[in-house]
Symmetry: C2
Subunit: 102 residues, 2 copies
């Protein structure tokens, strides 16, 4: 069973690391307990919509970007391509190569 909280946690952690921020910095900026944010990142706790909004803001990342990334990753888990059919073949090949790296 694909669990959305697992993918949300992974995406939040990846975005945080991309921006070079610590758990402590993001938890503090989002006014969320550090232990709670850590559990959310590990997919052990469901983040409420309010917490998700605060953490997204603390990461300077629109919630829509987080949700799209979550959708892309779940599509891969579900065996669905995250690439729209209308993309040219060379872009699809590039995407596939990118997926291999992950």
């Amino acid at each position: 069973m694909v669990l959305v909280r697992q993918e949300i946690g992974d995406v939040l952690r990846d975005f945080r690391l991309q921006k070079g921020r610590t758990l402590r910095q993001v938890a503090s900026k989002a006014s969320v307990a550090l232990g709670y944010l850590s559990e959310v990142e590990r997919g052990q706790k469901e983040a409420s919509s309010e917490i998700l909004a605060s953490v997204a803001e603390a990461l300077d990342t629109p919630i829509s970007v987080i949700m799209h990334e979550v959708g892309d990753r779940i599509a891969v888990l579900e065996g669905l391509s995250a690439v729209p059919d209308s993309l040219p073949d060379e872009l699809v090949a590039e995407f596939d190569a990118d997926m291999m790296v992950r």
Copy 2:
């Protein structure tokens, strides 16, 4: 503040109505209490990841499709275009027209 549960609720209801199913049918198939599903659809309750997976399955809809639709709708609320830059102009116009109808 953009609340993810509100958009998830709207998307679940819209997909259910598109498929011509009643709350009772989907709740029963997903083994979820009818009142609970109704609250989720109205954005009053956060759906756990397990419930979301069950409801998506009951709707014969991949979770990734639900998450992408949620991301698209939040992008509009956030004032971000949900249309990738690479789409041809005529498709963008079509998308904009579609958005107007909503």
